[in-house]
Symmetry: D2
Subunit: 464 residues, 4 copies
């Protein structure tokens, strides 16, 4: 009475037609999910131990499985493992190889789990590792900024708003702004890690399992502080990936901002910094060119990182419960963003060590542009002139300077007093850039004292 056996797939029992080659190739994921092998094997080991613990595997069986999995891992790492696209994905490739190695015990491994909870586990293990990796790289990058801030401590440069020279600042202060951005990136990743770090295994395809599994044991084995609370949610949840992609987006945006500055600063017009030759390339046609390729590429790569975030959000929009195959499209954007951001961070860490700031040019750049006008206004405020009036007075003084092609510092006391009688000899102290910089001493300001405090704190926080 038995019907003809189904097709030769792990799920083929009820099927009467072989998968079309086009469909097989279209739906295979092995070419990109193979990189999860390490996590897939780790998950399977923990799962097997648990199955033994609850009596669904014998001691001998679990040993066979653990040995088999270890052998497979070795084969993969030594490039001797043959991946078979017709087995669709990394899970089936490993399981099939295991069965071929250890026989019946291997056929028991998939007990009480589904690829739906298995892939969720793999991705969580993968992203836990990646997050730790990014955290370490972010710290390295911060160290790079801190090292530069210390090396160039005391160098004054124009601070910009609207790309117009605004007020003089310490170069170190400017560099430490990036320290802060990457500190927030670390905090965001750490928060994300808490939502990554939840065990989904045991959710089955969507509804859990009727077998007496011990999820807490598996969680302990794999270092998860929490197990997922709802099986349907657990197999369809991709929030942690979106959150990771969004965190990556901001990291790369921060890198793009610094890259923009490096491109500007290494232009002939700014000439604030020299990027070491080893991070630049030339032109195939213009022999004199030296191009800031790395910062340009890092800036450009913000496109793909943001695109990946958009991709996954689009995938998720409007999907009903629980697992849908659309979710297979989660992996490539996540892999690509993790790779892009980690490679961008790593190359930036190196590049920071190849920056030489032109102290002299930075200094000269603050000499023109009425860059201490605000100091003059605040000087007047201290002389009890309401700020709005002070601002207007200084505005007129600047207009006068423009008309007469002078800098504020070049005005005589007599000239200055035509704008406000309250101006006295001591005005020249604050019109100079050094005085200006050092007067901004409140927390977060650019005075040497404030910046040194920030720098020291940063070094402490980074364990330098």
């Amino acid at each position: 009475m038995k019907t003809k056996a189904g097709i030769n797939k792990p799920w083929g029992g009820r099927f009467t037609e072989k998968t079309s080659p086009a469909a097989e190739s279209f739906s295979a994921s092995i070419h990109f999910d193979m990189r999860l092998y390490r996590y897939d094997i780790a998950g399977s080991k923990a799962h097997a131990k648990m199955l033994a613990r609850i009596g669904l595997l014998s001691g001998a069986e679990v040993e066979q499985i653990l040995d088999g999995l270890a052998a497979i891992e070795t084969e993969i790492e030594s490039n001797t493992f043959v991946f078979r696209p017709e087995l669709e994905d990394i899970h089936m490739n490993i399981e099939k190889a295991l069965v071929e190695k250890v026989g019946a015990a291997g056929e028991k491994l998939h007990t009480a789990r589904s690829r739906n909870d298995q892939v969720a586990l793999d991705m969580r293990l993968y992203l836990r590792d990646e997050s730790h990796h990014l955290l370490a790289l972010l710290a390295e990058l911060q160290k790079g900024f801190v090292a530069l801030a210390r090396e160039y401590f005391g160098v004054i440069m124009p601070g910009y708003t609207h790309l117009q020279r605004a007020q003089p600042v310490l170069l170190s202060h400017h560099l430490l702004a990036y320290y802060e951005m990457f500190a927030r990136d670390k905090a965001r990743l750490s928060d994300c890690l808490q939502r990554i770090n939840v065990l989904p295994l045991g959710s089955g395809a969507l509804a859990g399992t009727s077998l007496p599994i011990d999820r807490d044991f598996v969680a302990r084995e794999l270092g998860f502080p929490l197990v997922s609370a709802n099986s349907m949610d657990a197999v369809s949840d991709r929030d942690f990936m979106v959150e990771f992609l969004a965190a990556c987006g901001l990291i790369q945006i921060h890198l793009s901002r610094f890259s923009e500055e490096l491109v500007l600063w290494s232009s002939q017009e700014f000439n604030f910094v020299e990027i070491a030759d080893r991070f630049c390339t030339g032109s195939s046609i213009m022999p004199q060119k030296k191009n800031p390729d790395i910062p340009e590429l890092v800036r450009g790569k913000s496109g793909r990182v943001i695109g990946n975030l958009m991709a996954l959000l689009t995938v998720l929009k409007g999907l009903p419960m629980s697992y849908n195959r659309d979710l297979q499209e989660d992996k490539e954007p996540v892999f690509d963003s993790a790779d892009t951001v980690s490679r961008s961070l790593a190359v930036m860490v190196e590049l920071l060590s190849g920056l030489s700031f032109n102290r002299e040019i930075l200094g000269h750049a603050t000499e023109r542009g009425f860059i201490t006008a605000t100091d003059l206004a605040e000087y007047l405020v201290r002389k009890n002139i309401p700020f709005r009036q002070a601002h207007a007075i200084v505005g007129q003084a600047v207009a006068y300077c423009i008309a007469n092609k002078k800098e504020l510092t070049a005005l005589s006391l007599e000239e200055l007093r035509t704008f406000s009688e309250t101006v006295a000899e001591d005005v020249y102290e604050i019109l100079g850039v050094e005085g200006s910089v050092n007067s901004r001493a409140a927390a977060g300001g650019t005075a040497s004292t404030a910046v040194m405090q920030a720098l020291t704190k940063a070094e402490t926080d980074l364990g330098i």
Copy 2:
């Protein structure tokens, strides 16, 4: 020797030409940033008190300012305040009105601050409020799901993967999957709040101020646990907005998933749920129509929420330090996403109370589709058949059923035993949907015991 006075703008001292009307209208933000008035005034009050504290305002002056600001707030809230586009933004509109009210004291208010740190402050205060508002709405929505889960406790429905009936689950289990999603949304918003909750005021235009401000005092006044650590970063940081927008994106994606289910479930084909008439509309041409407009709109609104995230990321890409006018483009996407998400949550909270599930139809839906096939496989596993073999055996049984137009439950023991001799009379216990559901009793599973536990925990967590 004075040059001709500048133009009539708060910054007009050095300008010799009036702003072009086209430029003025193009760059004005008052039509959208006016909604920040409350936060702008709160910030100004705290700032004024601090200025008094450090001696830059007299006691009388600060009183005048506080009274003036309070009066302006009242005028705005009673719609008697006249906003002037030529004053560009909310900050200048309020300051100008203050000067008109209280004279010279008002001209001192902008001492030691800039619009750059002021607007950063306003947005942080605004988003702190909005985040708390969303957190409350998310809790309300969770309560709605919990209430439904309790009301329909015991009702069994098909759980789906790939929109195919997969395994029977409790409706309550399905509903609680959404409880989990919104719990994560709350956690994400709470994390984001920590990065919102930092005082930027005192950063000036970019470099701090030379005046002896007391930032900690202002922080305490406004309830900020932290002050920003770097003035250049503080005026150009929009991370907290991106993070807020990303959190909004996931909330709306979650809503879109539930909306999709409501649309499906209220179709004639599913007929799982009736949405109360008060949440539906009809057709201007088809008299019989009753359309699930609210879920459709909520689903559709995921577009704008994701679009807003994309918009701000694009704005930030490649911007050099520190403040650039591009950043004015931060507000509308943030306002729109905050409004969209809060309105979507609010209407969803109401709508949940207008859902009537069709218990009978949900039950019938589990009767067909071999929905307990996995239970049969796990039954065989318990009889010591390796899972892969068990899976294949059941696959053949299903193929047999399809060929013979029968359900698994309708197979005789004899028929079943043709597929595996280990099958015994007790198989019928697990082939029924109720037995199937209740067997999945591990943590996170769909058994009544597990779901009741989850439900009770949820009620406790929500303070029900």
Copy 3:
């Protein structure tokens, strides 16, 4: 036997419960679709004439309707029309007002149409107008670039790659690059217009109508060259909006690129251009600042334009046939992008007239940086040295110059000949920037002859 009448909505017959205020306000579109009134009325007029033509309206009725609609249009334009949110949208607001004005005739207007085809019509009429408007603005902008190219004809500046000085070019050549970009934008919009310009009316809710309508008549009345070919497609098609949004995206991207250049060029470091005061603003705290706000805002607004494209694509993803309420979310992004792009173009047209290029500084900028190195290489090629060798020779000459702090032009013939014996006295002709520029005379090159040809062609094409 009649059941209790339904609720008081145009579609309320079968409903037993009033719409919830929350749902009503959540789903109303009148606050944004009111701006379609002109198109809605034009469409209704054409529809009414057609209904008369096929005998479903009498001559008297159609007159009443046309007069009524004209009166409503006048009321709206004189701000005396009262929009009622409870009537949901512009279509119902106008129809209701019409019925109140002209009675029974008005109740016949909605014959043989649905809001689904009506709103599709309105949006097509709107986008046809907007596209023509943008085309005109793009032409104005091109004229602005052409005028500048003529005004500054002959001025030489550095051409950049990687923001490094690469080769000297005519400023006019650089400006005409933008002429080309906006020419493509016009071509794209014109192509899009062909797909906008299709009459959807007559598609009913989704399936057409059983009444004997004359779609060709309506198409002629409204100036549509084509009628839609499939009613289900016609009511759910939003492609033309996506295409319009994508075309807007590229326009704004082009504007963002030119804006970036304006921001760079008006920095103190470049100082290539002065933007007229009337397009700049100052700082509320720094009296000396003059900021390029307009280009910054234009650049920043690329965020929202791209975000809007993302928004609509997200809305459409995965929507089944035919009309779904999600599609209501199409309007705001389309309105916002049309407004943003047209306002950005308009302000840019004005701003172009306020640019003063610093001829002297542009000239000086080409003096340094070995900017004619490629010319030297091509000189060697003409002396029969293979290009790769020529490139290497010049590279060494440049390295020599850097080491000796000289420019190529400052090398003596003797020095030059140490790198290649083939160098002769005539080398100095091509080492000068003018000779360099004018040698690049192939089509599309930067030689005065080539650029004058391009300029003249542009003027002709623009009808100047």
Copy 4:
């Protein structure tokens, strides 16, 4: 006097430091741009012929180069070519191999061109091919829809709005809606092709060349109807790629809509269609499952296609003239979208041939849900009742039916006349779904006559 030679790169003359391995690997593009080899070689051949034509290559040299390039092409296609990452990209890999093969002649090939115009050329040749490929696939897909429309001609199904049954339509009418969408996609791609089909070669790095090139000759050789008009624009223009990506976006969105319908229709609830086993997969845990994986994946892949569009727009935002290295980030999104869309189209073409619609179930689905209510309203209009009144009358009839659990078709004439006295015996003709469908006979409607006309036209247009 010669300085020490530069580093061993094609551009290394002026460099004193070797590229860092991290930077080299970070900036290499050979792993993805190698797929351009065919276009790079074709472009080089045309360029070499032109160089010979203007006397910069001898007849012997050009022969050597053409033979060398042909040999390289053969090597690449037979997988014997060794790509070297340290040579950065496909252009340098091929040129270097050529020099190794043919010596000095090879060193002349890069005369009068730059990688900047070379890569622009390669991408235009590539996208011209890809566009033609997509156009062919789109036509195949249309043929698939047309074939189904003919096979099932006459089958009636519910047309949906809001996923609610709205009016009966022909299945063929529904299928031909997709024919229309893909027709628009073809039109869009064809328009895009005109902007792709422009020769950029001859633009040099950015400024053209001083050598007497013949661009028209190269254009003719490569089949370009136009040469680019501005060299700076030509090397920095990526519009054609964005436009291609946007066209891909809409194709995939259309596919996502049809995929959504296939997923819905193959659910147990709808059961409208059976997807052949060869396009489905099963579950690793649930033996009874048959999942519509292909449509799900196609739907999900809309994420990456939209993400790629966002990625490139982000890259371009705010880039100054002319070439910047960021532009290297253009290729991967373009390749990925071209591949994704062409593979999705190809698998969909196959899948269409594996669809079996359940005629009986589709028919039954129109029996309930008052699906001909609009016909009743239009019937009343023909009896001279104003449409709004007719709509209200039918609304009441429907409410009566719901209350009495009847369908409209089951109402007696007496019952019907309680709602409107004008109803007569002939009403039953239009209450039946067949009469209903066939009455909608205006252009674009669902009547058999109209659909047959559309079908025949489609077949003619497709050359069937």
